[in-house]
């Protein structure tokens, strides 16, 4: 028990600088949006307490905003506000709005009617009634609303890292992608502590008497403003002519940003962003350089171009079917049939196929059939069934397309039936299914086989030098020995990490390789 705690502590102290920055950003994001939400929500709450007929529509709209999933809301924001702090603040603001409006309204309408009547009867005017009677008496309920909003915001602010607004989400989502528990906890523990701290402080405020609250009411806006400013303290990132947006996973990988810095010495102003919005942000000129996948369909959709990895930082991820040895014996026609596809799909063809599925939303089956017909490989289903081949795939578009192509090939060229088990999560689930005889084969990538499954020593990886053929030979050999699994011939394309830019900008700046990019950035 002692050791993992020790290492978590070590990790946290290693990352102390980054942790501090992200925590400050997190607090800043929470309080900027909370301040705006209070400035807007409080008057709205007062208004609907006065004009009962407005309360239905206002609370209804605020309620609907609350139900929009946070990721979707952030997605809607990008075309309007781009990426970074603006959309994050707006999204957080919208989430904080409902509890503040609702509690202001409930608090004010809940003030004892006799007290209100007496206040009017002794001659208080509308403003005096509001400031001297209604707001002070509603204050505990209003504070409870602000408290709820604060806790919601601390939680939702983790998602700000999806759209390059920083915050503790960078650790959390990086950790999830890299399956690094220490990294997740390094973000999650401070976020939880922040939520508890703010919740506790506000709960103490709530219990104070009205008299003391009046004094605090003067200092609170100041405190909010100060906490909000924390967001802008940690601007230590170096500025540069271009802005890069990298996924949290890419930021933490040896064959990602760490490698770029080490091998190319690339120094570029970097923000952390989710891959779901990254491509679009590049297209909309919010970002100049992004870390994409080389066969992603959005490459084509958004007219992006891959920078050549001239120093070989990104290891090859060539796709090939991997099959259980027993299955090759059980289905003698299988190897021949699967190899029909060998070398048939290069990067640009795969990108095109992904584009049709991910972006144009065609079904993988239709896309697979059209592709096979264009290659003259398509054959009618033989429908003479002598045994069932079980085919797996991971849970993303490219794997679905490959699975469809393979099942159509098997049905057309052999007498076997195909049972597809698509959507088997990530690498681990798929590979375990294969090892445990739940499926017969699935398409895998050489880099994944090397780094995620075999995980050999650093020296072994370096000795392969990122070479496509050496890597393939190594994984093929090792899989056969360790798992009794055969790598068939590669399909042809390399779905690896890649840096990409907008075509027009890359042309204008004459940047073709990552080295070109570095030189451009260093030019004064």
């Amino acid at each position: 028990m002692n050791e993992p705690q020790q290492t978590l502590w070590n990790y946290m102290s290693q990352q102390a600088d980054k942790l501090l920055i992200q925590t400050l950003q997190h607090i800043g994001l929470t309080f900027i949006s909370l301040s705006i939400a209070t400035l807007v929500g409080l008057p709205l709450g007062i208004l609907i307490a006065r004009k009962e007929s407005l309360s239905g529509p206002v609370l209804g709209v605020a309620g609907i905003l609350q139900t929009i999933p946070s990721i979707a809301l952030l997605g809607f924001m990008i075309p309007l506000l781009g990426i970074g702090i603006k959309p994050a603040i707006v999204a957080l603001f919208l989430y904080a709005l409902l509890p503040i409006i609702r509690n202001t309204y409930t608090g004010i309408t809940g003030v004892d009617a006799h007290v209100k009547e007496a206040a009017v009867a002794v001659g208080l005017n509308r403003w005096q009634l509001l400031l001297q009677v209604e707001l002070p008496l509603a204050m505990p309920v209003i504070l409870a609303g602000i408290r709820t909003a604060t806790v919601i915001n601390v939680g939702v602010a983790t998602l700000a890292s999806y759209i390059a607004a920083g915050g503790l989400g960078e650790f959390i989502f990086g950790g999830i992608s890299l399956n690094n528990t220490h990294m997740i906890l390094t973000g999650a523990i401070p976020a939880a502590l922040l939520a508890l701290l703010f919740d506790f402080s506000l709960s103490r405020l709530q219990k104070l008497s009205v008299k003391k609250l009046r004094k605090i009411a003067v200092t609170a806006p100041l405190l909010f403003a100060l906490l909000s400013l924390l967001y802008f303290v940690p601007n230590t990132a170096y500025g540069s002519k271009l802005t890069a947006g990298f996924t949290p996973e890419f930021m933490g990988r040896q064959d990602g940003n760490i490698g770029l810095e080490k091998i190319y010495g690339l120094k570029i102003h970097t923000v952390v962003i989710n891959d779901a919005v990254m491509y679009k942000a590049a297209y909309e000129k919010q970002l100049d350089v992004i870390s994409g996948y080389s066969t992603d369909g959005r490459l084509k959709a958004y007219n992006l171009v891959i920078l050549k990895d001239d120093k070989g930082v990104f290891p090859p991820y060539y796709a090939a079917p991997i099959v259980r040895n027993e299955s090759l014996i059980k289905f003698p026609d299988l190897e021949k049939t699967l190899n029909l596809l060998a070398g048939k799909i290069d990067d640009s063809v795969m990108t095109e196929l992904n584009y049709q599925v991910d972006y144009l939303h065609r079904s993988p089956d239709k896309v697979a059939e059209a592709f096979l017909k264009s290659q003259g490989l398509w054959k009618e289903d033989r429908s003479k069934k002598t045994g069932v081949v079980r085919l797996g795939s991971k849970i993303f578009g490219e794997q679905y397309i490959l699975a469809s192509i393979y099942s159509q090939l098997i049905r057309g060229y052999t007498n076997y039936e195909v049972a597809t088990k698509t959507g088997l999560g990530g690498t681990k689930i798929c590979f375990d299914a294969l090892v445990n005889d739940q499926i017969d084969f699935y398409p895998e990538y050489t880099g994944t086989g090397l780094l995620a499954i075999l995980q050999p020593s650093r020296g072994t990886i370096d000795s392969l030098g990122g070479d496509k053929d050496k890597t393939f030979a190594y994984v093929k050999n090792a899989f056969k020995k360790s798992y009794g699994i055969t790598w068939l011939d590669p399909i042809g394309f390399n779905n690896t990490y890649a840096l990409m830019m907008r075509q027009a900008q890359a042309n204008a700046l004459a940047i073709k390789t990552i080295s070109d990019l570095k030189q451009y950035l260093e030019r004064k």
Binding site: H114, E117, A118, V122
Partner: protein
């Protein structure tokens, strides 16, 4: 001083106040009396513009209340509610100071006025900094009254001011209310459904039913000169007690036997009510009472039976 002219007010289809006209003279206690839902509270709230009449006019000192600002009108008019309506977040002193504060009195004057009112209403100065929820019901009601009186308004509106109190506390506060010098110079309109309270506190009683005035007059008028069977019915249940409370000994003068000798210090003034005199027989265990009429400079001495006989004579006389 206050003139209400043909005022009507409806809530939806229900007529709460229907063509009501009423005049209240300066420094008079007028009681709006009636069963629940007769419109008495609605009428009261139209006087300080908490409610707006549908038709009709209200004048105070010949000035239409709708020609001045509601805020000014209310600051010159005390208001006491059954549930006190004290500000729970204000101390006793702050509650009392609300209207003087709104009228921008200087601090010293406000402090002096608070002390004065606390004393008059038999509240110890240690209550000054306490909050309403720390006080008993009776104390809260006293603070409510102090708040209404704070800025020395000439008019006081009271909506069932003693309705939420237990019998013992109510009797005590009513007694203080009668004795309070400051109130004698005020025009008071009080709403109540309690007949006894109306007869004890009112100079004039306005009996209301279904938003209309049934009869307005002095307590004796309602008892002995009812304008309709409705009035008789309303008072019947407690008639004997009310009569005892209304009739003063001087009204029975001619039926009382003359007394002899010099008046003792125990002699009752002739303005004492019959109710009080009967209480003397009961509590003092006296055989006979001396009654002194200072105006006529006459002395009477009566026994219990003689007093009751005189009462019956008086009643017979009135009915005849």
């Amino acid at each position: 001083m206050i003139k209400i002219q043909e005022v009507s007010k409806s809530f939806g289809d229900r007529k709460a106040v229907d063509q009501l006209s009423l005049e209240i003279r300066a420094e008079e206690n007028l009681i709006l009396l009636g069963a629940s839902g007769c419109g008495k509270t609605t009428m009261l709230k139209m006087i300080n513009r908490l409610l707006t009449p549908d038709t009709g006019q209200i004048f105070i000192n010949n000035k239409n209340i709708w020609d001045q600002s509601a805020v000014d009108l209310r600051r010159n008019m005390g208001y006491v509610l059954q549930n006190t309506g004290l500000f729970p977040h204000y101390s006793v002193a702050q509650n009392i100071a609300i209207v003087p504060h709104l009228l921008k009195w200087d601090k010293k004057r406000i402090e002096k006025r608070i002390d004065e009112l606390l004393e008059k209403l038999h509240l110890s100065t240690r209550y000054r900094s306490m909050y309403p929820h720390e006080l008993s019901g009776g104390q809260q009601q006293r603070v409510g009254l102090a708040r209404a009186l704070a800025a020395e308004p000439s008019i006081l509106l009271m909506d069932e001011p003693f309705g939420a109190l237990d019998n013992v506390t109510r009797a005590k506060i009513q007694e203080e209310f009668i004795a309070l010098d400051e109130l004698k110079r005020k025009t008071i309109i009080m709403v109540t459904h309690d007949v006894q309270e109306a007869f004890e506190l009112g100079d004039q009683i306005c009996l209301m039913d279904k938003g209309k005035v049934v009869q307005t007059g002095a307590p004796e008028d309602l008892l002995f000169r009812p304008s309709s069977p409705l009035v008789t019915d309303f008072l019947n249940e407690q008639r004997l007690q009310l009569e005892f409370k209304v009739i003063q000994l001087q009204a029975l003068w001619k039926w009382l036997p003359p007394g002899s000798g010099p008046a003792t210090t125990a002699a009752l003034p002739s303005k004492t009510t019959l109710w009080r005199a009967l209480a003397y027989f009961k509590y003092r265990g006296a055989e006979a009472l001396q009654i002194l009429d200072r105006e006529r400079n006459e002395l009477k001495a009566v026994q219990f039976e003689q007093l009751m006989a005189a009462f019956y004579q008086y009643k017979k006389n009135i009915v005849a």
